[in-house]
Amino acid sequence: MRYLSASKLVVVLALFLLQGLAFAQDFPAAPNPPRLVNDFTGTLSADEVNQLEQKLLAYSDSTSTQVSIVLLGSVGVYEISDYAFQLGEQWGIGGKGKDNGILILAAMNDRKVFIATGRGMEGVVPDALAKRIVNNLILPNFKTEAYYLGLDEATTMIFKLASGEYKADEVMSDGEDNPILGILFLLFFIFIFVVLPIIKNRKDNNNHMGGKGGGIDFWTTLLLANALGGSGRGSGGSFGDSSSGGSSFGGFGGGSFGGGGAGGSW
């Protein structure tokens, strides 16, 4: 009974606190299906949104750094910086633990913009540089209503600054333990498709050796093709992905924001 009453009290208290804060309606829910570019205002054309999405997606795929763009009407009484940090934190832009997310937030009616850098990105995009990106690339373009151009140039500059800081987990080209993993997989497949059939075939003599042999070739080919494809993607991945145009974003990773970044108004 004691446990029950205590836990009930905690629940009631938590509900009470949540109600008082009323956070929920101030921040849009994370997009579903997940997208890196979210224009709630209709400022950008569908084509422009798609182009930015593919550009950011290709970068996220090849480096794991998630750069997200959000355009909304107004941030109300919030400081735009504060709103950006809380939104980035709630959506979890960037990888968990790496915190390599960047949020470019623009409040169109407030005419304010802010680049919030995740904790892991503060080193490569320090506040002073974020400020310069805002002042030199975003604001002049936004003043002339060239919103797409401003965002395009800003993201390109961020990519330049951030390139080489983080590598995607999936890209197996330069990891030290990855060859070992590959060899283990190879041994595993050899065991399953070569050793086991041989043992099995020893017992009942001349069975379908031909059929099994075909199996070996198929699996080995697949494996080799995978290995080659994986290493080949390492360097030129971004170009290949952006031209394909059909891939979709897998979702935000749970990155955290500690207050890095800079902003301005146009």
Binding site: D26, G76, E79, D82, Y83, P126, D127, A128, G259, G260
Partner: protein
């Protein structure tokens, strides 16, 4: 003999139950308190960062001789006052925290006055060194805000755990006391109207 065994058994079971509950609660308090200590360290780091930026700012601004000396001395004085108020993380009482916040907010005020007067000096505003310092200072203020919010959230979790029944009894026995919050900045209580 058997008649004695039953009450003894019940007492034993009750004793074990209370003991395990007491230990669990104590450990929970300790974990929450450690969380707060971590957040507090972050708050102090960011305030320290701001304190470290100020000498650079002052010397950059000083180069422009016509600059008002009053505003500068105001910043320097507020800085030395803010650094004199230090809190031990084990003693984060509401009173202590309010004192700390007051000293730091005074420095914030002096700094923003300085940045406002700077608007009158186009040469200074065009100075690259000053612009970088200004960006760093703004970034530090942002980090302070985030660190303070995280700290407040940790304290909220700790305080609400501490005050519910039966934890309040245990807290009294162990000597855990409620901790202070950073007060919201004036104007933060207005109803927000966000448009997506």
């Amino acid at each position: 003999m058997k008649k004695i065994l039953i009450p003894v058994g019940i007492l034993l079971v009750l004793g074990i139950l209370i003991y395990s509950k007491a230990v669990g609660t104590y450990n929970q308090f300790v974990q929450l308190e450690e969380g707060i200590n971590g957040e507090w360290a972050e708050v102090q780091t960011q305030y320290q960062r701001r304190t470290d930026l100020i000498p650079n700012l002052v010397s950059t601004v000083k180069g422009y001789a016509e600059f008002e000396q009053e505003t500068l001395t105001g910043v320097v004085e507020a800085r030395s006052k803010a650094t004199s108020v230090q809190i031990d993380p084990t003693n984060l009482t509401p009173e202590k925290l309010a004192e700390f916040q007051q000293a730091q907010d005074q420095l914030s005020g002096a700094l923003s006055r300085l940045l406002v007067t700077v608007e009158k000096y186009p040469d200074l505003k065009a100075n690259q060194n000053f612009l970088e310092l200004q960006a760093q200072l703004e970034g530090t203020e942002n980090r302070i805000a985030v660190a303070r919010r995280n700290f407040n959230e940790s304290v909220k979790g700790y305080n609400s755990t501490l005050r519910v029944f039966p934890n309040n009894l245990f807290a009294g026995w162990y000597g855990f006391v409620a901790k202070g919050y950073f007060e919201a900045v004036a104007g933060a209580d207005k109803a927000p109207s966000v448009q997506f």
